[in-house]
Amino acid sequence: MGSFIETFNTLSWDQIKESIYSKTEKDVLCALSSSKLSLEDFKSLVSPAAEPFLEQMAAKSSELTQKRYGKTIQLYAPMYLSNECNNICTYCGFSLTNKVRRKTLSDDEIIREIKSLKKSGVNHILLVTGEANHTVNINYFLRAIELIKPYFANISIEFQPLSIEEYRQVHDAGVHSVLVYQETYHKDVYKSYHTKGKKSNFDYRLETPDRIGDAEIHKTGLGVLLGLEDWRVDSYFCAAHLDYLEKKFWKTKYSISFPRMRPAEGIIEPNVIVTDRNLVQLLTAYRLFNEDVELSISTRESEHFRNNIIPLGVTSMSAGSKTNPGGYAVEPESLEQFEVSDERMVQEIVELIKGKGYEAVYKDWDRKFSQTYA
């Protein structure tokens, strides 16, 4: 059936950019009054012409999100298993040439981390690694998942792109969701940021959500790294990717994350500054475009931003995050992938959510569902 590459090859970055920047107030009003929005409407909503309509977008986003998700926010926490990495990604703290101490958690260390994390009440966990196929490969993943599974209701992974067969294996082992961000959909720009390693293969990464869908993983997470390229155009590509995937893999659920570049060790400055206003515009545009897609905000964002974003359309938030392998118990002082901005503990975030009239949901899956695959 082909992959997203076929659709991607019909899209021209420059034409889409021109189209977005030529949207008018009339186009925005038309999008705001529609009940089923098209990709053209999405362009209008992420365009500069929509900037004066932020309050209307937020109101509609809030209403649509409540209708679908109620007054709830799902909680999760990441757990970094390894920072070994053979890729050079010029913006990342784990990049190959960065002089940081490399660490991959052993079985014992994984258990110590889990027990520490579990005390916070978190029941949905996101496992993260760099890309180091000699040591942190499918065998390592399956072992880690086996160790972690008894402790958490829901496991998501953010590993390097895997093959269909490997995705089937992690699915059967109990993984619910796979996150893989394209970083940027601008192929040439992508190559300039990813200069070495397997990640430099743009097409293989672009086809990853197809492989995830083929493997019947429950949920796929998409996103662009905000700060690499024009966020309006990049997000249009991501929305088009979502649209393609939803039609092809109709049993899969989708989420969008909004990683915004933050200071990390030895790292470049963002090429494009994405402001808080921009991010609110983007997040609400996604909601208006797609009433069902999960929208996730991590601890990369500031307390101020996270305090106020809750009723605007977000459906899941991380809390109490450590972005270094061993960060919860084993080596709390080691180097993080990126600097966490909101350092508040899980309980504080739960109270924050409650204060906004929402309920923090710790558990919205049961690992026993996946026992049927075994």
Binding site: K67, G70, K71, T72, A153, W250, K253, D292, K368, F369
Partner: protein
Amino acid sequence: MNPLRIADKQFNSRLFLGTGKFGSASAMKNAIINSDSELVTVALRRIDLEADTDSILAHLPKSVNLLPNTSGARNAKEAIFAAQLAREALETDWLKLEIHPDPKYLLPDPLETLKATEELAKLGFTVLPYIHADPVLCKLLEDAGTAAVMPLGSPIGTNKGLRTIDFLEIIIEQSRVPVIVDAGIGAPSDAAKAMEIGADAVLVNTAIAIAGNPAEMASAFKMAVMAGRLAYESKLGKIQSSAIASSPLTSFLNG
């Protein structure tokens, strides 16, 4: 108002509630209390069976019956597994069977639902399947041993009301098991309408959970369900498309 009987249980209230989407556990509890509902559905995926106290279960009034649901199951196999888990953990045979392979609109899969109902009925479950408003499917489910049918009024969470009313009327006319209209009921008037056309009960969640005042909205639904049922039992006058005046066609019979 006649009580409702489903399988071995009798209900005085014909309003069933969902427990998701509430802004807090206390908002959920107050809504349930105000609704007088005697049956609430709880997603198995939301319950933490390993915690000392689960935030949802701990807040349910003691008098209310639990209807675990299999939300999240994509096929019969997953649903049956979840059902067995629910029976063991929550000590009830009652089950709201939800099989929706489509996570976007959460539309039920008729084939897998029929398959799972057959299997679960054999395993001794009291099965209440969530389905499209499909009259033929309802008859097939009856034959498979379902305890009730739960056809949708409109897509779940949309508050659009009884968009499937023509099919609901056929289902109600034909059914030998209770018909509970589930999903899409957005306002008390929708609930009243469902009861007026002869539904045995309605299940409401979103419309109450995300209301400005969920507890008061629950009271409103309680009254609407009672009004609608009473109207049905009192033989609601039919709407006539034309006035019935003289009898030009049969007057010759009067000699």
